[in-house]
């Protein structure tokens, strides 16, 4: 508490000399452009520029996806969940279930952030800290889920920025027996596949197991790798978003500590810092709406 008081005292001391500089931020008059403070306005324009960065990435994803003859189906790629939860679903596959849960975490943390801003407007210090802590927990939960998703993709499924083991069939056909090299005989289970079906090339002891198949037109072939751009874009875009979440959590922690120390009580501006970090946090949620749309839903 001792350091907190010193901070506040310093702040008060400071404001005696430059009263109109503190928080107002604008030089040259009391009239604020767009009736918003300098910090809030600049946060909005930063977010606008950031939106263009993300839009650039997502549009690049779209352009590259359109340029490929096949593209892995997201439902097939993202169909696992931690603790073997996907085994509870029919066929042992839980398409999009885990990533939907991640979306909920982010939505919930966005809602708790709105509550923190509302409590700030009422100058309710305890309320602000309480709802900000919940927001931070939601953010850390989301990042943890993403860490699991990445670990699973890299460690279990062997996807990297240069190799994408998720390929997609272009024609209907049937898999060939590994030993005899012909389709399973009548009476046995014939493992057929359809055009547009996504498969995962497994890796065992450092060797890729590319299964052989024959299409219904009689053309033989073996499973080929999917476009490597899929993996590169996935790690790059979700990584960039995850880094936004991470830095958001760092700022949330700093501002929650400041709020708890009573710094913003002295400023008497309705916890404007909480409002500003709130804008950033909602933006992270907003970007996720589109990452979720582009990567998982479409």
């Amino acid at each position: 508490m001792a350091t907190g008081t010193t901070l506040v005292e310093k702040d008060l001391h400071h404001s005696e000399h430059h009263e109109h500089h503190i928080e107002e931020g604008w030089d040259g008059g009391d009239k604020k452009p767009f009736a918003a403070s300098y910090g809030k306005l600049m946060m909005w324009y930063f977010l606008l520029s950031d939106a263009f960065t993300f839009a650039g990435f997502l549009i690049a994803y779209g352009a590259l996806r359109f340029s490929m003859p096949t593209w892995p189906v997201a439902d097939a790629v993202f169909s696992t969940a931690p603790l073997g939860i996907h085994n509870l679903f029919p066929g042992g596959k839980a398409p999009l279930i885990f990533v939907t849960f991640m979306s909920f975490l982010l939505i919930v943390s966005s809602v708790t952030m709105v509550r923190a801003v509302q409590e700030g407007r009422r100058e309710n210090k305890q309320g602000v800290v309480f709802w900000m802590v919940l927001t931070i927990i939601g953010g850390i939960g989301f990042l943890s889920c993403q860490a699991w998703e990445w670990a699973n993709l890299i460690g279990e499924e062997h996807m990297s920025v240069t190799t994408n083991p998720f390929g997609t069939h272009r024609f209907d056909g049937v898999y060939l027996d590994d030993e005899h090299g012909h389709p399973y005989k009548d009476g046995e289970v014939r493992e057929t596949f359809e055009a547009g079906e996504t498969y995962l090339i497994h890796k065992e002891e450092g060797e890729w197991l590319q299964r052989r198949y024959v299409t219904n037109e009689g053309v033989e072939g073996k499973q080929s790798f999917g476009p490597f751009q899929f993996g590169a874009l996935f790690f790059f875009i979700t990584g960039f978003h995850g880094f936004h979440v991470f830095s958001g959590i760092v700022f949330l922690i700093i501002i929650a500590l400041n709020a708890g120390s009573g710094l913003y009580v002295e400023r008497r501006n309705g916890y404007e810092m909480v409002e500003k970090i709130g804008l950033y946090w909602h933006f992270v949620d907003l970007v996720w709406v589109f990452v979720f749309l582009v990567f998982y839903l479409l």
Partner: protein
């Protein structure tokens, strides 16, 4: 926030939560439906698949609009602030059209080159092809 009471504002937040929650579930269900997971091979019927995709895109834009206008409070800011943030994003409409068109064109050109390469020709011109390294 000054126009509406604190109690009302609190209510609105949780209304917003349920809205986003339910829309996300609807999106996921439509997405799975569109990929043929719910028993109907929708992914083979291109127009139905297209409608599903458009509905998902529409719902996502609705979600985004709700977050910006209510959670980020932009709907309650001064008009100038609102439009100085929203109008520049209209540039993205053209970016999307142009780059998707471009991506599609890359694919067509690659396939054109592949099909041309598959044409059997006499040895002399084959050598020229090799020299120019035209094969994919």
């Amino acid at each position: 926030m000054s126009q509406i009471s604190y109690e009302q504002a609190k209510k609105d937040v949780f209304r917003g939560f349920w809205l986003l929650f339910i829309i996300t579930i609807i999106e996921v269900v439509i997405s799975l439906f569109g990929k043929g997971w719910l028993g109907i091979p929708v992914h083979k019927i291109w127009w139905l698949y297209g409608i599903a995709a458009l509905v998902i895109i529409g719902l996502s834009i609705y979600k985004a609009n709700y977050i910006i206008m209510e959670f980020m409070h932009l709907g309650h800011e001064v008009k100038g602030l609102k439009f100085s943030v929203l109008l520049p994003t209209a540039l993205l409409i053209w970016a999307i059209i142009a780059f998707f068109q471009e991506g599609d064109s890359w694919k067509n050109r690659r396939e054109l080159i592949k099909s041309k390469n598959a044409i059997q020709v006499d040895e002399a011109s084959q050598k020229t092809d090799d020299a120019l390294d035209l094969r994919d």
